[in-house]
Amino acid sequence: MQKIGVFVCWCGSNIAATVDVSAVSEALSHEPGVVYATNYQYMCSEAGQNTIKDAIKKYGLTGIVICSCSPRMHEATFRKTAAAAGLNPYMVEIANIREQCSWIHKDMATATEKAIILGKAAIAKVHLNAPLTASQSPVVKRALVIGGGIAGIQTALDIADAGFEVDIVEKSPTIGGKMSQLDKTFPTLDCAACILTPKMVDVAQHEKIKIYSYSEVEAVKGFVGNFEVTIRKKARYVNENVCTGCGLCTEKCPQKNVPNEFNLGMDKRRAIYIPFAQAVPKVATIDANYCMKLKTGKCGLCEKICTAGAIDYSQKDQLIEQKYGAIVVATGFNPIKLDNFEEYSYSQSPDVVTSLEFERITNAAGPTSGQLLRPSDGKHPHTIVFVQCVGSRDTSGCGKPYCSKICCMYTAKHAMLTREKYPDTDVYVFYIDVRTPGKNFDEFYRRAAEEYGVHYIKGMVGKVAPKADGKLMVQASDLISNEQLHIDADMVVLATAIEPDKSARPLATMLTASMDTNDFFTEAHPKLRPVESPTAGIFLSGTCQGPKDIPETVSQAGAAAAKVIGLLAKDTLTANPCVAHSDEMMCNGCSSCEKVCPYGAITYVDKEFRMPDRTVAIRRVAVVNEAVCQGCGACTVACPSGAMDLKGFSNSQIMAEVDAICK
């Protein structure tokens, strides 16, 4: 039997004016187990708290009930009070007789009656309370950033600047991501390389940052503060520490016919290559799918000419194990495949290009050295049609249901830059809506239309038909003038929808981080915790969480870094002790709880049990990882055998409250 003390607060006149506090303490003093009951003007004041502490010591209280304001206000205060008097802080229950009683009722008799019932419910609960201890776990002071685009770069720099070690894992041979492929950036039109490459250099030179390029995350174990990650460092057949990045090999390699992914296959590279001039790390990589030496054993030219002796054909994939306190996902996006949109003739004409391809064509380091030339015949196009929303906002199953967010702005940029450099070019933009909610965004779009003479047409292109003379017949609707247009274009640019990188889904499984149906990572709260995954210790940066432009990505990257820093700054993590717990004697190993857990906190182990007949049986039982469990209680209801319960809000505790209220 508990020895319970009841403390009724007047809250000045806030409670005492409508609730007869003496009647409440008197009534509650007769409840079973209550050995002491009193009331006081301000329980939360120092004098009030001392009353509680003294009573705990004097009467040897094992549980206390405070009838006062909302627990959201002072629960923490009174728990501290209890702890100071040597009572477990989780032996405190609050009956909310202010917000949910005295403030909403006018009649004293009614309010007093209700206050007594609320007090009884709290007493009934505290009878069943058990002392809880919050577990502590140490924090590994190192962060992992997965993805080396602008999101990953910014997050890594911010974390490293705060003094913590950061590793970046990037699956391609260089960091830089999609931003390194862009020409100019909206709405200011500064060149992407000019603002990105200095950041890449900062990353390379930062003593706290280590880059694992050409590497992928292979496995993740552990939990917040203590993740164990296996990184696969793919064989690049070049010794990174020796290669000087002189580039001689990339000029001499006889295999010249490899599609250059950096230019989206619009030109060729060699089998040994450095993706682009400002690559970080600036180290050559051998493409094993094309290298003659690796495929047939003949050649070996690069090894002969490399003065640094960096070539190593015998290199193997390496597995690296590392511990991290926090993991940031920054896996980014890709344009979707256009197989379902062949009405635009993407695969039937080289002059129909995606916006990212157009970006490379206009980039000074691109396949045409920045000259706007059409891929089929290298001539200047004089009529260009831009088609918006290709695959975005598509619920037919061919594309993506969401708005890709960045296309309106980059199309305005492309249209504007085209008109600026080549005023003799007619530029048409077919749009459904022009969406420009961003600082200086709408002004930018209007400039394209008003000052640069870009023809914006509200309507959609229905078909692009290549003609024998090399023109592209664009058939489209103009909804404002209510007519069908036929435009002979030289080039068609498709504002292709973006989707999360394909590596995101398997990664989410490894991290037990949740994803939406479009494979974007979900955030812990869409408004208030936008850069955290619901899984503790996993943070989100950039487009892996949803379509974003560069300014937004960078802000989110910084926000994610701040959250990581906040976590790594702690030496230990105190967990919420109100977590789920499975009674293994009752668990039948059915996995119902595992399936509803939003955090992946429940796993199964095969455990030996001594049976009544002294034999040993092995049973599969649920185990809750208390560091990961957030205490929502979904599993407790899903459990068919009643094995799963929630500490602090147990079935019997809530049932006791129900009973007390319904009496």
Partner: protein, 262 residues
């Protein structure tokens, strides 16, 4: 390989060649087409209205018959193929239409779209294989530049027809390659020829047919091949500004297999 076969109204009259050469080629390829013992006209176009049942019944009868015979159902005419596949899809997925049709027909075993409907081209591609056909070609149509004309009914709506990419198909092109000729790809191969509007608005049909044939000619086609009698008619009659020959694909097949008799 035995298939149930649904010829459709036109193949018995105005499009006898489409039917005849299909039979000859089938024999040469070792497949047997068994004409359904009783079939009725499919109606030519799929009735889209949700409250139409009677107009779908002839298709359901054919589909049920094929199921009871235990065969896949093959069609040649694009229109029949389109109607049968779409009705079959309704029987599978539209509970209302399926139950009405089943109640009306008083079938011993209710029909819920069990029959697999195939176009003759799908049989060539999926059951025999174009590589196998290429091996059996004795009279390759070398050097002939042939434009495939799909029209609208063969591929759309693609979610139901599930035959090929509706905007960039290759099944007839692959067929043309298999018989040794050279396919000509042109953008209007899946745009409508004007269809039944030839009865209502000749000018419109002429415009559409001219666009199709004009585009094929522009890309160097010497002839056009199709699977649909109405497409063939429109391209021959209504493409007034061009005069490419238009031939059924089965005739080309028979010729390549060396079984073409007149």
């Amino acid at each position: 390989m035995i298939f149930s076969y649904y010829p459709g109204c036109t193949l018995k009259t105005k499009a006898k060649e489409l039917n005849f050469y299909a039979y000859q080629s089938a024999k040469a390829l070792g497949i047997e087409l068994q004409e359904l013992p009783e079939w009725q006209c499919c109606g030519g176009t799929y009735p889209m209205a949700k409250d139409e049942t009677a107009t779908k019944l002839s298709s359901v009868r054919a589909l049920t018959l094929a199921r009871d015979l235990g065969n896949d159902l093959v069609t040649l005419c694009s229109a029949c193929h389109n109607v049968l596949k779409q009705v079959n899809n309704d029987m599978q997925n539209d509970e209302k239409i399926a139950s009405k049709a089943n109640i009306y027909l008083q079938l011993k075993t209710p029909y819920h779209g069990e029959t697999k409907v195939l176009h003759y081209l799908e049989v060539l591609r999926d059951c025999i294989g174009f590589e196998e056909i290429a091996k059996k070609v004795v009279n390759p149509l070398k050097g002939k530049k042939i434009a495939a004309y799909y029209g609208c009914l063969l591929l759309r709506p693609s979610k139901v027809m599930q035959m090929d990419n509706p905007e960039n198909p290759r099944i007839i092109e692959d067929f043309i390659k298999a018989i040794g000729a050279e396919p000509v790809i042109y953008p209007f191969r899946n745009e409508c020829c004007g269809g039944y509007l030839t009865m209502e608005d000749k000018a419109l049909t002429q415009k559409k047919s001219n666009t199709v044939m004009g585009s094929a000619q522009e890309f160097g086609a010497e002839m056009i091949t199709t699977a649909c009698p109405l497409c063939l008619y429109n391209l021959r009659k209504n493409a007034t500004e061009h005069d490419l020959p238009v031939i059924y694909f089965t005739e080309l097949l028979a010729e390549a297999l060396g079984v073409k008799e007149d």
